[in-house]
Amino acid sequence: MTVTEPQQLAYIAGQAAEARLRFELETEGMTLNIGPQHPATHGTLRIIVRLDGEQVVWADPSCGYMHRGYEKLAEVRKYQQVTTLVNRIDWLSSFCNEVPFILAAEQLYEVEAPPRAQWIRTLLFEMGRIANITLFLGEMGVQLGAITPVFYAFRDREHVLNLIEAATGGRFHPNYDRVGGLKDDLPKGWVEETKAVMDKVREFCDQMEDLLLGNEIFERRMRGIGVIPARVGLGYGLSGANIRASGVDWDIRRDEPSVLAWKDCDWKVWTHTDGDSFARYWVRLQETREAAKLVDQLCDGLPSGPIMAKMPARLRVPKGEAWVHTENPLGEMGYYVVSDGGPSGPFRCKIRSASFNNISILPWILRGVYVPDVITILSSLYFILGDIDR
């Protein structure tokens, strides 16, 4: 292709105009506040980014806008009262927060819940996972401009929430777990209904796959964006689907001995080798399918029997320390509970929440990315503000 003289002149003029602009306007950089009220932050996370043109040169997340001090509050409560607090950590799957704490408390009390209680716990745990991740699957589309998926997500999550409400009495904050068992048994007909809803969940996963995974915009905005190498991710303490998307085959449900019923089921842990935003989405999609599979199996194998162990009426909790962690929808959630042997509550309750570690990688991962990708990466890491700020 030959370049004509007018074209050449136009090019030179364009270059000159741009140079003049650079000289007149200061384009060295600007500081941009993302949040604390930004739709992509699911709450009040503020990220201060320093921009050079469209690229981020430096990012500093600032959390704590919703810090409630649960570690301190847990120290002035009894074990049974703490579940109310921890319900509010990751509010999309509250029951999953209760389980590890209650397991830690049971370890200190030296009681064990009967098998039926453990199965129902596992069952509701997986339902919490579905309720949580379906929202992510839909909401990821919104960040890229696709409005439809999120409505599907809200629609199908509602079925799951209705079931959780039917069993526990609370849609979001079940407060259903007790030291030594559960508050109540499942209502009549619940199991059959749950299995019907699981078919809907699977259908929802297929819909998401149809709507988003093949979509060119979706793929281009997600593939190769926000790549986290496994070693870096592990150093930052990323867990759950975020680290499995980087090729680390680690799932606490499978790898750690637990009293819960995962070991009795047949399911698979999915990993992806890419480590980018797309991989994180894909892993979570498969995880939802596996969760539906798990719920089906748990419904089938539900043992009969009591749901509450015999608890001494007045009990001093023996001195000791317990660390229990589980694979929550957002990643590893653990409680390090110390008992001083007194009749009061935990002496120290360290809450290890997944999102706090998951977003601590932001300063590293946002360096050099374009502004629109900040939103994609933020969403694909998937955090809940309550899980960061505790």
């Binding site: 959390c63 704590g64 810090h67 001090g69 570690e71 301190k72 509050l73 120290e75 002035v76 409560r77 009894k78 009262q81 397991l103 049971e106 370890q107 030296e110 064990e112 070693r231 870096v232 592990l234 150093g235 930052y236 303490g237 867990s239 680290i243 680390v248 680690w250 790898d255 750690e256 001995p257 009293v259 007045r314 001093r316 023996p318 001195k319 000791g320 320390e321 317990a322 660390w323 962690h325 590893e332 653990g334 390090y336 110390v338 001083d340 042997g341 007194g342 009749p343 009061s344 002496f347 120290r348 360290k350 290890r352 706090f356 570690n357 601590s360 990688i361 590293w364 700020d389």
Partner: protein, 234 residues
């Protein structure tokens, strides 16, 4: 959990069940750290190791570089100060019989804690790291000086330690030598005091004692209803 020792975790606890993999790890750590490894507890399928605070950074490096503990779980602290006022309040309203029978938690000197790989000093820093290949976790602990709780930063070993050390700094007042910027992460910049220390009073409880144990306040509406009921037959 099922094989948890059934004693009441007193000083003469039963010997933990043998766990060759973890024992081997402790032996390897002991080769590197020598006397700095003070004690360890290997029970319930978990491992606690208490090291000297001088060896804190070295222990992290050894675990990550030599033993493949890549995954940083958390870092935090404990204040073992006996919050006598709090304990006493619970004793009074909750369990006076057990207090008369002895084994009270309140009469064991200034520090309550130190039961499981616990500490000799008031403050302890503890952190947990994990080996995702061998599916092995370890909790490291170190005693800190009462007056000057300071320890080496782990940021050079685990990048994730950055935020956790900022949290421990603002919550407990621990100093982390070598940390690039200890500043507030949760609390406002002008916040004073260290909230998770036991001598930091929880304001809500000072103003009004916890009503959950013995609810002495009349429930609003109750009196009126009773009055209404009494009035109705009369």
């Amino acid at each position: 959990m099922s094989d948890a020792p059934t004693d009441d975790q007193t000083e003469d606890a039963a010997p933990p069940p043998p766990d060759p993999e973890r024992e081997e790890l402790v032996a390897a750590l002991r080769r590197d750290l020598g006397d700095w490894l003070i004690e360890h507890v290997n029970a319930n399928g978990d491992l606690w190791v208490r090291v000297d605070r001088k060896a804190w950074l070295k222990a992290g490096e050894v675990l990550r570089e030599k033993h493949g503990f890549d995954y940083f779980c958390f870092l935090s602290g404990i204040d073992w100060l006996n919050n006598a006022e709090l304990v006493q309040r619970y004793e009074q309203v909750w369990d006076p019989d057990a207090e008369a029978a002895g084994d009270g938690a309140a009469d064991e000197g200034p520090y309550v804690g130190g039961r499981v790989a616990g500490g000799d000093t008031r403050f302890q820093v503890f952190a947990r790291v994990y080996n995702v290949q061998r599916k092995l976790g370890i909790t490291l602990k170190a005693d800190l000086d009462d007056a000057n709780p300071s320890v080496d930063s782990w940021v050079t070993v685990y990048r994730g330690a950055d935020w956790h050390e900022r949290e421990a700094w603002e919550m407990y007042g621990f100093e982390f030598a070598g940390h690039p910027g200890l500043r507030h992460i949760y609390l406002p910049v002008e916040f004073e005091g260290f909230p998770l220390r036991k001598d930091f009073a929880l304001l809500a409880r000072v103003v009004k004692p916890w009503p959950g144990l013995v609810d002495k306040e009349p429930v609003p509406g109750e009196d009126e209803e009773e009055g209404a009921e009494e009035a109705a037959p009369a």
